[in-house]
Subunit: 217 residues, 2 copies
Amino acid sequence: MAGRQARKNIPQRASGPALWASVGARVRDRERKRDAVIMTAARAFRERGYHNTSLDDIASELNVTKPTVYHYVENKEQLLFECFRAGLKLIMDGIEEQRESTTTGRERLAAVISRYAEAITSDFGWCMVQAENQDLSPAMSRKVKALKSEIDQGLRSLIRAGVDDGSIRPCDEKMTAFALAGALNWIAHWYRSDDQLAAAEIAHRFIELFEQGLQPR
Amino acid sequence: MAGRQARKNIPQRASGPALWASVGARVRDRERKRDAVIMTAARAFRERGYHNTSLDDIASELNVTKPTVYHYVENKEQLLFECFRAGLKLIMDGIEEQRESTTTGRERLAAVISRYAEAITSDFGWCMVQAENQDLSPAMSRKVKALKSEIDQGLRSLIRAGVDDGSIRPCDEKMTAFALAGALNWIAHWYRSDDQLAAAEIAHRFIELFEQGLQPR
DNA sequence: GGCTAAATATACTCGCGGGTAAATTAGAGC
DNA sequence: GCTCTAATTTACCCGCGAGTATATTTAGCC
């Protein structure tokens, strides 16, 4: 069939469509396939936006048809949520990681910023940032809000810790956390993966700016 | 008719639906009406998002039918663009305003930040931030990109000026501008107009943070 | 090699919403 | 009061895309 033939010619990106590329190579690991669906969706959402990406699009990028996608995920909203959660987890891990650290609050905050930048520049970055309440059902919206709030609280408590240990100048922790999160989240809007600038480099410059400030010392 | 009666009961918000509220009060000024359409769209987009707002929604908020909206605006995309432009103009004005100022670069930058925050918290703020290329035709996308770039260049040149006159510590102006714009744009994501926090207050805290930095001096 | 369950595909439904053609109403000028 | 234009409405079209009912294939298992 023409269909079959066409499928073989699809370029095989890492960990994505390759899973389904040839019938013989199909792996039966359900988890893996589900992850591939989510990953592909994340990339598609990032490139074309949530509303401009149909499930048919995602399916065809996976060399599969729409009902197959529905076999791994309840609906489109859930798909967005999974992308969101995957990205958010990267950040949460970064924050968690610093819990047992014994360095100053400022240093721990800097470490979290680095991980945050890493997460935002990942395939899931865009979804994390764009998963607005507007596109979600009330129930989902609540979940997303709660998760986002965890990140916010994590940042604030690091700032507070820094103020307490003297490594951070006393400041409005809420506004500071918002400014930080804003600058970081915004990366998703301008970052292109083919950019020369690596996440680590961006994080480094941001840390310097936020720590030192614009005014000469 | 029941339709007419219902219209009279619509609450009349400032400068919006009131224009059409009663037949007798209809103003013939085309400009004014067009502006009302744009304003109403901006509010709706902010509340429910671009894709979740239909032109029927906007029309009905104006106590009018969809074709009337089309009488003032070519299509939905154009409508988003107009909202975007209206918001952007506020910022451009702020930058322009500082061109003839003779103060230091850092002070001028602070002034622009204030105006920026003001613009972002306005009804048009959300549209400005959300008018992503993804939802726009290639032609529109180019226009939006060009306008956004103007803002970016404005910020960078202020930073450069500050570095030159010694009021700003030498830094990567591109990353600094991105961080600033990010923090400011992000306001649109969390700001609610009924918030106690006024734009001026937010701007003030942001300026302090960006100027002084987190590290104690 | 036949049985069963999971995986995938075919072939639909259906509503929403952008956009429009054609009629109707309002109003300015005479 | 008539006419002509601008403003507005009624009543549509139509495509896209989310979601699904049903058939078919695949693969593990005895």
